[in-house]
Point group: C2
Chain length 525, copies 2
């Protein structure tokens, strides 16, 4: 079947869908049986439950029609096999290839792309092993016990969220820290408590030219020079993760370089060398490999063209309905696991940078809403914070709960008849139901309207494998939504203008734009 | 003048304001002079600049009319003098009284409220001093070097954000950690790296009955029992911050108790004993006192009835215009300071829990939008993340930038002709201008429409004093907006239903609601 690209508002099934705006309610599947039947395998031991969404059997069938008409599974297969999906930058999109080969070999310029990604991960495995065995040591002869990732955006948020998700459960072999912001207070705060002699830095920048990352690299080098440690050589404490053509690649300023390429976007790079280096050094390569396994399972399940068997697709299509038919402008991500404290920040980038676009993949202005605002904090913390607005505010905000049957650390306490983990889960369940059904009170201030849709991703336990599946679930959801909206989810032209203007401010001079200068004067730049 | 309460959609000046929806644009004040003239003193060395907002002189005058007609300054004065502003709970609202007495004494039940708050802070000062001088030591004779706040919501987010904002600049006398989530992995992760013998825990719960906090207290006690340290007495390692009538008050399970009362809501409690204890123990009382000073300055400036001289009022009224006239559903808070990494999470609670309401203070259903979604991350990090959507997404999201002329730590590096702090500031300025003006490209994918409004809070440096002013600025902004919307910003009935249902789940049994049970079964509670 040939693939065709159509804007959402031109396809027939969307027009049918728009008619459902008035009559759809939360609750059709809120029965014991309905809840059981609304559960889809999401890979890595996870499932996706949509029983508390605004959905009914007819809507599912209509969403299936839309997914079919927009050929989302065909487009996913095309992406997997190396079609140029990133039209703006004329690139393939190959992050799934780091964890499996689901639709044949992808060869570019004579190179088997999967073999290339695997070869880099194997090089990382070997390097990490040597560091952990103290076969590679610091320049003053001490074993490394700390690793610091220097990177920003996709080189920071995903790897950091994954590290924090596992740090507590898998006692790190090397403790990891992250420097991202160009704010000098960031690097100062991280470096303050480190022993440079036992620290390995990872510079992560695909282009090798990211302003923040290069400034922070030099910051670290200058700090180590000031520390005046006899025999210390900064180059022996740095590795690079970059593209083969970048100025950092194979530089004599680094101990070794590991490679990615232009076919993996920053926000999708956690399963490439970008996440692989820091996570393998911190936890061992086997832990990183379990992330890949979980992601691979989710990727394979996402191939199913039946929406009732495809968790990412169901999630994506319900999101389209909420955004474009019901008109909800934001979505909250609410993990009931403290270890996922920074996972919402990663999703915020992944979703908003991918689908926060106003033009089609053919650069035609779109006349419908695209990516929503994504925000969130772990529960139960959020319950004592912004949930007030979620329950009783004037806007309806769809909710994505995430929960696990077991805690990560098997150490808990019975207090007043239940463990903390039971309390955590009871709160999660209570919230799903409270949002869905509400509760009537003749005192309007104590009245809960309900009808606030949520879905629940649940798993046995947050492990490296389920974490990988969780990551891939959202990557694939965002990809599917991009296909339905007919936009390019894989470029980010919106970040360019700020870079250009920042350079103008820094180069200064009398010919600086008067408004830039006005604000620059306020801040005494 | 007698104070009257009217819903927003019933007042005349609002109807006038609605007519401005079509003709207002970002840019009226974007000249060198306009930028200088759009700066309002916000206290603590901060100023609020609105030059890049969608605003003109006529709009300012119309917003002034609305503020006058809704009597926001009169209502603020009434609040300060002890009027029952929190109608739902029949309570006064006195958090500003912790930092100054701006409209006369407030006496309740024969008690001078300011003297009460001050007396508790002085007790904290004395206690913290003794701990820091090792006159109060742990039960095994070792000086305390660590303090752990156990609290959730307002007992966590504000104090944590303030601690992190100062941790790097003011080397802590005692290092602070925070346990909030009922997730046992949270307490386990914090306790893993602590020495119990040198750790002081602060239990913070106004009611003394918060489920998460009591569960975590018992968790800590059980962990210390398991550690089997000879001579260890958990009660000698815990203090309480609570109300005088709570079960925790003066309990033999704690070393000492410090008091707050029902007139200070959790999300407004950072300048009471709730923030006072942990911040005084960590940094010394003098640092906490500077926070109070900064907040006091902002509170006093907020009394000015002239919107052009009142930063919180201008911020509030522009926010009303954006929310109710322009229809923008969310606001991003973007501090260009890594030290403010958790400040947006605090504002998220403060704003969304205060004004995420659908009924008036008289419990009448409102027919207009109230509090927006608040989210944010530090710049420049966010630039490499969700800014894509802010620049080129289909929705317009108002932006609140925060920036400082100097970094906190005077350690910086010149790289490619500028320091990191200069780069940070240049990026901030560049973003303000990029959002406001955009940039035309015939390639629609590289086109920036501009017209995206932002304001900028700027200061010399992020210090304890400017931090206090920053905190109070937003508290007062949110209060003013609540007055304009005619709702009660100081209760939180929306958190109750979840608590009730969670208890039902935990008590279990065959009579549990079938839907609760359906989800409880999924999670194997």
């Amino acid at each position: 079947m040939s693939i065709q690209f159509h804007n959402l508002d031109t396809v027939k099934s969307y027009k049918t869908l728009l008619k459902r705006a008035g009559d759809i309610k939360v609750g059709s599947f809120l029965t014991a049986e309905g809840i059981q039947n609304s559960n889809i395998d999401a890979g890595g031991g996870l499932s996706y439950n949509y029983a508390a969404k605004a959905v009914d059997e007819q809507l599912i069938s209509q969403l299936q029609d839309l997914a079919d008409e927009q050929q989302v599974i065909e487009k996913y297969k095309a992406l997997l096999s190396g079609t140029i999906i990133n039209t703006g930058e004329n690139r393939m999109v190959l992050h799934q290839l780091t964890r499996g080969e689901l639709n044949g070999k992808v060869v570019y310029d004579g190179k088997d792309q999967r073999q290339f990604y695997i070869s880099q991960l194997k090089r990382i495995q070997s390097f990490a092993h040597k560091v952990q065995k103290a076969e590679i040591k610091g320049s003053t002869g001490k074993p490394f016990d700390t690793v610091v990732q220097i990177g920003i955006g996709g080189s920071d948020l995903g790897p950091r969220a994954l590290y924090l998700a596992l740090e507590n459960m898998s006692t790190p072999l090397l403790k990891a820290h992250f420097i991202s912001n160009v704010d000098p207070d960031d690097a100062n705060a991280v470096l303050k408590n480190l022993n440079l002699e036992t620290t390995l830095f990872i510079l992560v920048s695909k282009s090798g030219t990211t302003q923040e990352t290069l400034a922070n690299r030099n910051f670290v080098i200058e700090k180590s020079r000031q520390a005046n440690i006899s025999g210390f050589n900064p180059a022996a404490h740095m590795i690079a993760v970059t593209s083969e053509t970048s100025p950092l690649a194979g530089s004599s300023d680094v101990l070794d370089s590991f490679y990615m390429d232009d076919f993996i976007g920053g926000r999708y790079s956690s399963t490439s060398a970008v996440g692989g280096a820091v996570l393998s050094l911190a936890f061992g390569y086997d832990v990183f490999e379990q992330i890949l396994e979980g992601a691979s399972e989710a990727d394979a399940l996402a191939l199913n063209s039946n929406i009732k068997k495809n968790a990412s697709l169901m999630d994506a299509m319900l999101g389209i309905f909420e955004r474009n038919v019901l008109g909800y402008p934001s979505t909250a991500v609410l993990p009931y696991s403290q270890a996922l404290s920074r996972f919402p920040a990663h999703l915020q980038q992944m979703d908003m940078e991918s689908n926060g676009k106003s033009v089609s993949r053919d650069n035609i202005r779109l006349n419908y809403s695209t990516g929503p605002v994504i925000f969130g904090e772990p529960g139960t913390n959020g319950q004592h914070s912004f949930y007030q607005l979620l329950h009783q505010g004037t806007d309806i905000i769809p909710l994505q709960f995430i929960g696990f049957k077991k805690s990560q650390i098997n150490s808990d306490l019975d207090y007043e008849g239940s463990t903390s983990q039971q309390k955590l889960k009871a709160n999660l369940v209570a919230q799903v139901v409270a949002f869905a059904r509400g509760s009537f009170s003749s005192n309007t201030n104590k009245n809960f309207e309900g009808g606030r849709p949520s879905s629940l991703i649940l798993g046995e336990q947050l492990t490296a494998k389920s974490l990988g599946a969780l990551l891939a679930h959202f990557e694939n959801k965002v990809m599917f939504q991009g296909f339905v909206w007919n936009l390019n989810s894989f470029d980010q032209e919106g970040v360019q203008l700020g870079k250009v203007l920042a350079k103008q401010v820094l180069s200064g001079g009398d010919d600086m734009d008067v408004i830039l200068k006005g604000f620059a004067d306020l801040l005494e730049i």
